[in-house]
């Protein structure tokens, strides 16, 4: 109750940030909505990767540093396989590969380290990160590859009746965001409404108790890592088609880190909202705040988009370490 002020403050700042460009007339309505939509679309992708983080953290207490690398690995796999087969088949095969990967990680890394210190597990996932980055390139190559989803990339003009000049929307972006949102909703339902979802939540809540009522921990971890792998694949494919599949993808995917800090490590809802907030926030900051800063301090300019999320997360760590939706005491890391 009492510690609500950081949340209120953040809400207020965001609200002001959102409204200011409109009120001051710095942005025409159409352009403003375009920026907003752009932010939301990349936000959904952040959410997706962040859910992968939160899932694994909740279920196994492991802070999976490798989530970004899994995105890259999956994208590489799909991109290279799609050169030799239809895209859908590449995606299916990619999914199989990610599940197999989950199985290997569970067997070779997690199971031997059960009940070890959190730091050991963190180091293990760091190891997995570098292994995946390197092994992925060894296996699939290190150039920039393309994924073509077969959806027109030309911008489409919509809502030209409402706003002067209309809004330019990239149809592919739109479809991608829709797919991501659908996946997020599906995951939430899966967690709340199915027996396996219930078992996952049970394991996340209390390992030992879950084990004593006969929930097999290994199987649950396997499922969690598979789901995280699948989520990484979807994010990887979408991002890959937008930015091209390249090494920097794992850096972009790491944006999920500030997202989970903002949303709270253990909360799926936090991952969703955190992703959207950061997606919209950084776009807004880049477009509207950036030029102001450049002018005011006579800077070289640009790049706000790259560090905005981390600064926000840092601030949050200071005032509200448990995140927007997280539980109070985190003692697992």
């Amino acid at each position: 109750m009492k510690k609500n002020w950081p949340v209120l403050l953040l809400g207020a700042v965001l609200l002001i940030g959102l409204v200011l460009p409109l009120v001051t007339g710095a942005a025409p309505g159409g352009f403003y909505v375009e920026v907003l939509l752009g932010g939301l679309m990349s936000g959904v992708l952040y959410s997706l990767v962040a859910i992968g983080f939160a899932l694994i953290f909740k279920a196994s207490g492991v802070f999976n540093f490798a989530q970004g690398s899994m995105v890259l690995f999956a994208a590489l796999a799909v991109a290279r396989m799609a050169e030799a087969m239809p895209l859908w088949l590449a995606i299916v095969l990619g999914t199989v590969i990610m599940i197999a990967l989950a199985w290997v990680i569970e067997r070779l890394v997690l199971r031997p380290l059960v009940n070890q210190e959190g730091v050991a597990l963190l180091m293990a996932t760091l190891g997995v990160t570098y292994f995946l980055d390197g092994f992925g390139q060894t296996l699939w190559g290190s150039d920039i590859y393309k994924i073509d989803l077969g959806i027109a990339k030309e911008p489409v003009m919509v809502l030209d009746k409402v706003f002067k000049g209309g809004i330019l929307v990239n149809k592919e972006d739109f479809v991608a965001a829709f797919v991501a949102a659908l996946l997020v909703a599906g995951l939430v339902l899966f967690f709340q409404k199915t027996a396996t979802g219930r078992a996952l939540r049970a394991v996340a809540d209390d390992h030992q108790a879950a084990q004593s009522i006969g929930i097999p921990l290994n199987r649950i971890w396997m499922i969690v890592w598979s789901v995280a792998g699948f989520v990484a694949l979807v994010a990887g494919v979408i991002w890959g088609s937008q930015l091209g599949v390249q090494f920097s993808l794992s850096q972009v995917a790491l944006k999920a880190l500030p997202v989970v800090i903002l949303g709270g490590f253990t909360s799926i809802a936090g991952a969703i909202f955190g992703g959207l907030i950061i997606g919209v926030g950084e776009k807004m900051a880049e477009v509207f705040l950036g030029p102001v800063l450049v002018k005011a301090f006579d800077l070289a300019g640009g790049g706000l988009e790259n560090w905005f999320a981390y600064v926000l997360a840092l601030l949050f760590l200071l005032v509200r370490p448990e995140g927007l939706f997280g539980e109070r005491n985190i003692d697992r890391v």
Partner: protein
């Protein structure tokens, strides 16, 4: 009442769990020293003893949390070695915890439903789509769980988050979740700890009813001797990791070693 206990005694069957010469040591400390006793089908078997007597260790050995250095445990005529808690659960032994290991963030209903996990077999994909066998299975299990909710009189709290409930109710949810596993043996770790008298009486009634209604064999450890004596068929008494008494409540009450242990007489 005499008639009642006669019929109950008639229900008690053969030995289903036998602990034979079990010793357990942590480092140099012997927590259990050559303990032997047996549990018969359908009985209420208590393990009592002062603090530090080794009661919890004993339960954890049966439950598969600890593996004894010596001795064996025979369950349904078969010895078991190095089973982990999950395997023990699969074999039909459920337990509750002294310090409540409920899923605090989940609803009462979800907690109890998760006790049905072992009985669920439908494919994860079918579950995800909520179709066919998965949905039917969910409904069947929900029926069983509703029966248990009714049995333990917690209808009013189905949707409540467990962490928000008072302690006595949480204990009841813990029992409900264990019963949902339909175990052959139910291990209760101090089921009455921290309760007031009324809650204790309720809990006694639920334990006896569960024993009666579902035929569940019950092994409970308890600190409060008076409560145990009222509901147990036979009692094992531990002190400093050794067995100092075993028999009906009346026999145990008359046992000099037990009296000394509880009064704190040193030998």
């Amino acid at each position: 009442m005499a008639g009642e206990s006669n019929t109950r005694a008639g229900r008690i069957g053969d030995v289903i769990l036998a602990v034979e010469g079990v010793s357990l040591a942590f480092g140099g400390v012997k927590a259990l020293n050559a303990i032997s006793f047996d549990v018969r089908e359908h009985e209420v078997r208590a393990i009592i003893g002062p603090n530090g007597a080794g009661k919890s260790s004993m339960l954890n050995v049966i439950n598969g949390v600890y593996h004894p250095q010596e001795g064996t445990i025979r369950y349904l005529g078969r010895e078991y070695h190095d089973m982990d808690p999950h395997q023990v659960a699969v074999s039909g032994i459920a337990r509750t915890f002294q310090n409540l290991a409920l899923f605090k963030g989940m609803s009462v209903l979800d907690n109890i439903m998760s006790g049905r996990n072992l009985k669920m077999h439908s494919n994860i994909l079918l579950q995800a789509l909520r179709i066919g066998p998965a949905l039917r299975e969910e409904i069947e299990h929900r029926e069983v769980v509703e029966g248990i909710i009714d049995f333990l009189e917690i209808q009013a709290y189905r949707k409540s988050q467990v962490g928000q409930l008072p302690y006595g109710l949480q204990k009841r949810v813990d029992l409900a979740r264990a019963l949902a596993m339909e175990p052959r043996i139910l291990l209760l770790d101090e089921p009455m700890a921290g309760m007031n008298l009324e809650e204790k009486q309720d809990m006694c009634r639920f334990i006896l009813d569960a024993n009666d209604h579902f035929g569940t064999t019950i092994v409970l450890i308890e600190h409060d001797m008076s409560v145990v004596m009222d509901i147990s068929d036979r009692v094992v008494v531990l002190d400093y990791g050794r067995k100092i008494g075993d028999g009906t409540p009346d026999e145990v009450r008359a046992n000099q070693a037990v009296i000394d242990a509880y009064l704190g007489v040193t030998h």
